[in-house]
């Protein structure tokens, strides 16, 4: 699903990504872990082109992110084509980023109606199903400010799912939540993982990584230091940097 070779990104003089190489298979759940500033979020944002990578190969589902190959040349995609690519990739943010002026239901239907051109009635029916799935059936008319952090994040997941994404990206989805609300969001994500969705999750929840992930990828200072099965990564880390990191978070 994701194939990255030597992905680089810098902001001015600061190299955030210094050659990230990884791959995530279809239906796989990959957890990206690492200290803050290691480039996890930046890499995630490169995948749906919220950030533009400077060098390296990055492809989603077989096509290059932000470019189209025709013969021996890569053509940069225009805004419209990039929008179409993004619409197939769901993203969940640390700070939820629900549209504050829209109700929970309207948050979910905005994309399907405006981007997919779905009929309003169909979109609403589908949005209600999704709200039910994340356990918020009776919260459809609430504005984000009237919902708890955990509820907002579940609406945000439903909003992303409404676009029928082939891949879901989670950028520290539980970091901004009160501890007692983390569980309800992780439960929704577990269900999603079991349904066979391809997911990349930047997280500090090692328990979630151990339980749900097919692959754990440890990043530090802009590169992938170590990747492997969760059991092996978290119980028998090989690189000293991962050992050091785990000693701080576990």
């Amino acid at each position: 699903m994701i194939h990255a070779v030597g992905v680089r990104k810098s902001y001015g003089m600061i190299d955030v990504l210094r050659g990230v190489t990884m791959s995530v298979a279809r239906g796989e759940v990959a957890c990206l872990i690492g200290p803050s500033g290691s480039g996890k979020s930046t890499f995630l944002r490169c995948i749906n082109h919220l950030e533009k990578h400077d060098a390296g190969v990055l492809s989603v589902d077989g096509s290059f992110v932000g470019y189209e190959q025709r013969g021996a040349k890569l053509y940069e995609l225009n805004d419209k084509e990039i929008c179409a690519e993004r619409a197939r990739i769901g993203m969940v943010f640390q700070r939820f980023n629900l549209f504050a002026h829209l109700t929970a239901l309207e948050n979910i239907t905005l994309g399907p109606i405006r981007v997919r051109g779905l009929d309003e009635k169909v979109a609403i029916a589908r949005a209600r199903e999704l709200l039910d799935r994340v356990g918020l059936r009776d919260r459809d008319g609430n504005y984000p400010s009237q919902l708890s952090g955990g509820q907002q994040q579940r609406v945000a997941i439903a909003r992303a799912l409404a676009m029928d994404p082939k891949l879901m990206l989670f950028d520290e989805p539980t970091s901004a939540l009160d501890p007692e609300l983390v569980g309800e969001v992780l439960d929704v994500m577990k269900d999603l993982a079991h349904s066979g969705m391809s997911m990349i999750v930047v997280t500090h929840e090692m328990g979630f990584a151990r339980e749900v992930a097919d692959q754990v990828i440890f990043m530090d200072e802009g590169i992938v230091v170590e990747a492997g099965a969760p059991e092996q990564m978290l119980s028998q880390p090989r690189s000293p940097r991962l050992v050091n990191f785990l000693s701080k978070v576990l």
Binding site: R95, N97, H101, L110, G111, V115, R159
Partner: protein, 334 residues
């Protein structure tokens, strides 16, 4: 002292507040007196009864309220009022549209667009609106005809500037262009106040930049944009009176017309002022409800309408009168 006996509470007395209130009340009474005072006209009213002649001075309102009410709803004044409202509405609508376009240009990644937008604001904020108004009124002196075509090349068609730039149009153009400069800064402030995360979330759903602006950013920016825009509308209502300098028949011009022949300057200025106050009051009420509309989602409960607030205040006073907190039992009063 026995702890079972309740203690009386003596509320603090605000003597200085009472003194200040008395002073303000006195001032208000003086103002009312000045407004309602009658003064001698210099004429005398004499009647002779049983061969005895009695005279009393003829009095009149100092502020000539009779003249005010006589002219308040006459045709010329109402026509002037209508033109003032028209000018306000049209120039604000145009100004807001210009403002949105210029604000979006200013925030564009394209350097040319953003510097053109900056220059526009710089120029129109930097020169007095009265000067701009007289300039547009005299535009025909600069460009007798206006040609559309390729710069330095072919001209496709020409228009006669004098016929296009009537008094009304030149005033409208001047006010709208000037307003656009101020509105662009207001709109820009509103757009910048919307969290960056909202744009990212919209992008991640695949909304185009135009859709993001229209469906996500602007509706939320409105909450910040509306209060200063309300200011601008009310300010514009009164700025339209500058059009009287080019003899456009708006409200101020209409009363000038009257007092130029009757010399009742003050009463007619009061007529105009009262109308300006009436319209700006209506606009303020409108602003309240527009703000309330765009507050949805940002507040858990919408602010009360004036009627709701008045009701709450009245019931609060009633409660205060009924339940005087005169007694309090405390455990530590022993």
């Amino acid at each position: 002292m026995n702890g079972d006996e309740p203690l009386e509470v003596v509320p603090v007395r605000h003597y200085r507040q009472w003194l200040a209130a008395a002073g303000v009340a006195l001032g208000a009474a003086m103002l009312v007196h000045a407004l309602l005072a009658k003064i001698p006209t210099g004429l005398w009213n004499c009647i002779t009864t049983h061969g005895q002649r009695r005279c009393s001075p003829v009095l009149q309102w100092r502020f000539h309220w009779d003249v005010v009410s006589q002219y308040f709803t006459t045709g010329p004044i109402l026509r002037g009022l209508l033109m003032t409202i028209e000018l306000t509405v049209l120039s604000m609508v145009a100004g807001i549209l210009i403002g949105i376009v210029v604000a979006v240009m200013r925030l564009s990644r394209n350097r040319l667009l953003s510097s053109v937008a900056w220059s526009y604001t710089w120029f129109f904020r930097g020169t007095p609106v009265l000067v701009q108004l007289i300039f547009w009124f005299n535009i025909a002196a600069l460009f007798p005809t206006l040609g559309f075509g390729i710069p330095f090349g072919t001209v496709f068609f020409k228009v006669n500037v004098l016929s296009v730039f009537t008094k009304f149009v030149s005033v409208l153009v001047a006010l709208a262009l000037n307003e656009g400069a101020y509105m662009s800064e207001i709109v820009r402030g509103g757009i910048l106040a919307v969290d960056e995360g909202q744009v990212e979330a919209a992008s991640s759903l695949g909304l185009t930049r135009l859709q993001t602006m229209r469906l996500v950013v602007l509706p939320q920016a409105m909450r910040v944009i509306i209060p200063p825009t309300g200011n601008e509308v009310i300010s514009m209502l009164k700025t339209t009176s500058l059009a009287s300098t080019v003899a456009l028949g708006e409200l101020l011009m209409s009363v000038e017309h009257v007092y130029n022949s009757t010399y009742q300057v003050i009463p007619l200025l009061i007529v105009a002022s009262l109308w300006y106050i009436v319209i700006s009051t209506v606009l303020s009420v409108g602003q309240f409800y527009v703000e309330r509309h765009y507050a949805k989602g940002s507040l858990r409960t919408p602010p009360p309408t004036p009627v709701q607030r008045l009701r709450a205040d009245l019931s609060g006073i009633g409660r205060k009168l009924r339940e005087r907190p005169s007694f309090l039992r405390t455990a530590t009063s022993r």
